[in-house]
Symmetry: C2
Subunit: 199 residues, 2 copies
């Protein structure tokens, strides 16, 4: 006999499948659900199915959207001549939080990673190239992650786009604001030196 | 404009209401849900409503049950003359994991805590007393938490039961197995000294 009833164990298993959730946390979450009122539990379950059925991909930028187009592609005030290419919808949210960027995005939904069998065809590169057909786009900013895969993806795309006469740029590398130089790794620090600017 | 679409934000909010889940974790969980297949998301939602509708309280011990009685109260091999009183259904699971206890349980669903306006009537003490009407029960083991509230609850119940001629015992205090004496707090250590046994 297990220590938990089947419906409870089932819920624990569901929570435990999430990344970063261990058995104890999953159990605490399941007990949280048991402690909800009936209406709250229904709401919670509905939030899951709703998020899953209502959220699609934007036809233009492949970002998450609850309509044909995402709110950013729909907007009239965004500068359609600059496309910021990111790996993940979460990266869009991160850049939006800076309030510094007024262009549009393109979400690749991954990065080229031969180790994981992810080639250029498995991510949304075709869709990006298709957007560059007319001459509205002037610059593509590669904002893929500063990892081996992100770098490789940025290099691959830049080689693809340069012959099309489009400016391709990359996010600056350097020491993160507020960090301690002492703890910065050598690669970051040498990139920060390379990229130094006049003051 | 928020950075997240309404159905996504709603799901994030639901996850964030769980104890110990911050904004970033809730966001990661919501994206995990988006990454599920339709069937998996339906399953997940169903697990929540199922756990909530199918799990009730055992009529005897107030533990979680998917029937009138919980599996432990139903069992013929458990010794009904010993009742272990715990605060929470999770504590039942913890004690069951020891494989050392063969009696039955009583789940209080809380502890007396005047600070939080929880008095003896807000937890399942009445139900415990009702179980002691016939003479089958010989011992009640107080396994409430070793906190101020758990202590107070154990004291309150023991005063209630002693006049009924029932043996009331309390879990032993001491240093946890595998711990370092150096790091044990003074109260625990002095309790361990008090409760020392001959070897």
């Amino acid at each position: 006999m297990g220590y938990n009833l089947a419906p409870l164990q089932n819920l624990i298993d569901h929570f435990e499948r999430m990344q970063g959730v261990g058995h104890k946390t999953a159990q605490r979450m399941a007990f949280y659900v048991l402690g909800l009122s009936d209406a709250e539990a229904q709401d919670f379950a509905k939030a899951i199915t709703d998020a899953h059925t209502k959220i699609k991909q934007c036809k233009v930028c492949c970002n998450l959207a609850d309509d044909e187009l995402c709110p950013i592609c729909k907007s009239n005030v965004r500068d359609k001549s600059v496309i910021c290419v990111v790996e993940d919808p979460r990266d869009v949210a991160a850049i939006e939080r800076t309030h510094e960027y007024n262009g549009v995005y393109h979400v690749l939904h991954g990065a080229i990673s031969p180790m994981d069998n992810i080639g250029p065809d498995q991510i949304r590169i075709k869709e990006l190239v298709a957007r560059l057909g007319d001459d509205t786009v002037e610059e593509v900013i590669m904002a893929t992650n500063p990892t081996v895969e992100g770098e490789a993806t940025a290099m691959y795309i830049s080689r693809l786009l340069k012959p099309m006469g489009i400016t391709v740029s990359r996010l600056a590398y350097g020491v993160p604001v507020g960090a301690d130089l002492e703890y910065a790794d050598e690669v970051t620090l040498s990139r920060a030196l390379e990229g130094r600017s006049l003051i």
